[in-house]
Symmetry: C2
Subunit: 511 residues, 2 copies
């Protein structure tokens, strides 16, 4: 790099590419919102406990069955993997889980508080495809993966990744977790999600996290340093890897979002109350497994309940049913005094008006449900099958605005502005008032991806739509990205571990 390009680079760093709000653990300042009366929430709970007492849930993992039997679960005579539960045992176990905890990030300033009125926005996760305006839609690759991590690290409104934003399909699954977690550690200092797809992968993720944080095994296990999502295999099954994951995470004191996969009309009844009954039953039984494994293990009530398109069977999001399910799930989580995870989702194939409409509908569902974790909060398209770079930017800008909205309004004398009104009186203008001048630079939120210019100016500037502007911001960020510092010794530890595990062949796969 020559001197002038270094100077340019320095200047760029000094003057940020995007004007965004500073990082903070966002607190939801809205009043709590109960869409339905408490009796409705009780009816869901009661029915879900009836499901667990009468019908039961199937656990495809012998140690999970053994653990739950120890606490009184009764195996079905014909299929001993199906367990039935006494309602009191379930409720007592779930009551052991903490209502709030912190997931420590590599950079402690990026640690996230989960629970209470805190709201964490986690990026899109697990999309098999990626897309941008430049090259269209393609199977996810490692370059796309890394570019998404750079966006996650850059936007203050994105608190964490939600797993791999896109699946790097060009890396073999036996070592994919090693390469992905390493890249994440090198490019971001925000908190990490791992996939509990078999114990070796989970333990590798723990090892990498310890090395990147520079902490001992005991320090790692003493509080959450990594988190995961466990999905049930609805209806009423927890499969082997997921059950093992719940237990491994609990044993190591790490955080687990337990999300039943209860799409109404497909894997759950075709009514929202019925789907929520199923969701609650599956959550409670899985949460009980976690708490039987280790009392007090940090868990999060996950809801992904939405409806399917009855004609095609494909899932829909941001629908009236989805909004209701999210809001009522918030009430259920409050009943258990647990944090809740929801999603910012859309079924649209491109980041158009439909995508934005469905996403903002989902987002308000999250806000009014008091969501503590919003997964897929930026970049998600096609019901999760594609991660879009432009949509990531558009969503991150929306979340930046939501952060501003959630900043409580003050009502002191200065804010009530009687003096300014006295100064301007009838027929004047506030542009030039002292009160306005004093707050000129920071009076209002300025969204970094919006264009508020008039039609003439907008046309002269090339008639850029949201996508075009987002594309430019995305490239600006990628082109100017500088990774956060990671101490050299930790970097070496990380490299050594990944090289060793790669030499050992990673984790066994059947292909």
């Amino acid at each position: 790099m020559n001197t002038s390009s270094r100077a340019r680079r320095k200047q760029r760093t000094a003057s940020p590419l995007i004007r965004q709000r500073p990082w903070r653990n966002i607190v939801n300042s809205m009043p709590l919102f109960n869409l339905v009366p408490e009796e409705a929430v009780e009816a869901i709970e009661n029915t879900s406990l009836n499901v667990l007492e009468e019908i039961g849930m199937k656990f495809l993992h012998p140690p999970a069955v053994e653990t739950l039997k120890k606490y009184g679960a009764i195996p079905d005579k014909e299929d001993p993997q199906i367990l039935r539960f006494d309602r009191n045992m379930i409720l007592e176990k779930v009551a052991l889980a903490p209502s709030q905890f912190t997931v420590t990030a590599r950079n402690p300033q990026h640690s996230i508080v989960i629970g209470g009125r805190n709201i964490v926005f986690a990026s899109v996760g697990s999309a098999p495809n990626a897309s941008d305006l430049d090259n269209g839609r393609r199977p996810g690759n490692f370059q796309d993966y890394q570019n998404f991590i750079k966006l996650i690290q850059t936007f203050n409104s994105i608190h964490a990744s939600s797993g791999y934003p896109v699946e790097p399909q060009d890396i073999h699954p036996k070592v994919r977790h090693l390469e992905c977690l390493k890249a994440q550690a090198l490019l971001s200092d925000k908190s990490t999600k791992c996939y509990v797809l078999g114990k070796p992968r989970t333990l590798d993720a723990f090892e990498i996290t310890k090395r990147v944080h520079g902490i001992s095994h005991e320090q790692f296990c003493s509080s959450p340093h990594i988190w995961t999502v466990v999905n049930t295999n609805s209806p009423l099954i927890l499969d082997g890897p997921m059950a093992e994951g719940v237990m491994t995470m609990a044993e190591h004191g790490q955080a687990t979002i337990i999300t039943p996969f209860t799409l109404s009309g497909a894997m759950a009844p075709a009514t929202i109350p019925g789907a929520l009954v199923m969701q609650n039953a599956e959550f409670l039984a899985t949460a009980a497994l976690s708490q039987c494994t280790k009392p007090g293990a940090p868990i999060i009530y996950g809801s992904f309940t939405s409806n399917v398109d009855m004609r095609s069977g494909s899932p829909a999001f941001g629908t009236p049913e989805n909004v209701k399910a999210s809001q009522i799930s918030g009430q259920l989580a409050r009943r258990y005094n647990l944090p809740i995870r929801l999603s910012n989702a859309t079924a649209s194939n491109i980041p158009d008006a439909q995508a934005a409409q469905e996403t903002v509908m989902s987002m308000w569902a999250c806000l009014t449900a008091n969501a503590n974790v919003v997964n897929h909060s930026a970049g998600w398209l096609e019901g999760g099958l594609c991660a879009s770079f432009e949509k990531f930017v558009i969503d991150a800008a929306m979340l930046d605005a939501v952060d501003a909205y959630l900043e409580p309004t003050l009502f002191n004398e200065d804010q009530l502005a009687m003096d300014a009104i006295r100064e301007v009186k009838s027929g004047g203008h506030f542009f030039g008032a002292q009160h306005t001048m004093e707050r000129y630079a920071h009076a209002f939120h300025e969204p970094f991806a919006s264009d508020w210019s008039n039609f003439g100016a907008w046309t002269e500037n090339g008639s850029q739509d949201s996508l075009t502007r987002a594309n430019r911001i995305y490239h600006d960020i990628i082109n100017n990205f500088e990774p956060p510092p990671l101490p050299e010794d930790r970097k070496e530890d990380l490299e050594e571990f990944v090289q060793r595990r790669t030499k050992e062949g990673g984790v066994p796969t059947d292909f």
Copy 2:
């Protein structure tokens, strides 16, 4: 028309072009939402009453000044058009206004209930330009005007027009109101808004309404049959035509939305509490004028408070500040037990993701504020400077979904679906369950402008984005529109009146 084309036409009518929810007076089933504590609302009210007592408001209409003086308003010594008010007089007068009333439409089934938990969606109004994908943006013309009226009439989620959706600039202002109201009467049986731009126009609107409804002057005046919006000329001025409009509407028992034009940072202080102080002061003084003119005249608390872009001075919508202002305005209106009018707005130049994002943000502000009237709820772009046909369709579809969301959820045994869960058990699928079959056709809301197909099917179908789909729906509606019936004698009365007034030269203009 030959037989086969008639048959085709019949078929089209029988099978509706869009699958939408039936017309209803929508009731907001959400819990009431108070963003800020009651003390904050009191602080705004107190400061606004201080403004009226100490600074006063200017009325550019001598009869308004005389009326208010009769009830104790004190003219300023230097500028007798500026009136100061005792806070108790103001509050007593405002308390005379009804908390709920009905605006009768030509088709009584399309009458709208304003107040309480009712929510009315009124289309875009007063845009000088129109746009569609086919011909881009152009000054509004009478053809566009009529096409928008056809959309208003067709969508059940649009309860009323909000004035002229677009200004037909090809019709001279001296007769524009006559042609517009006539076209509206011929193409729509929903309720009508008039513009109070001088008494002759207002009285013409009354005359046309009486003829179209087929009612006497006394019947007309006995309850609201038409409504208007009156804007203050912020800060702290009510201009001549608007003041005359408030009085004329009150005298005739017709409904007036009183909306201060308090854009924070321009015509109002650069803080939301300060802008709301200004809004509340201007609303209260104008409402007092209405109630001094005729106690019990139907009025609506209007809020249009948003912020401007501090760099350009242009207004912004769907911003964090706009959402807060709307929600707090809802609390203010509840304090006075009055209906509230808000807006569904965006500053975007095209119906892209930004437009949808800002619109849905505004819309949730309306919902959580318990808005009774949402003006500009479909089709608005460019901060009101353009009415878009495609955005109209996209927004109407969103409002159709909002209607579905606001339908209360039942929690009976059938909805809780224990029997279905018992039937399917673990590992089954609900697609084929009896419970699903029974509700296959109507289980979930189906948005008429969204595409939920997967990427492959969507690509095969031409990769249509929201705009393209909306454009097709818009043309389908226009091409197949059939006006609602209007009795022949009323039609003749209407024609006779409009011809006569046109012959008389319409209303005087200075150009």
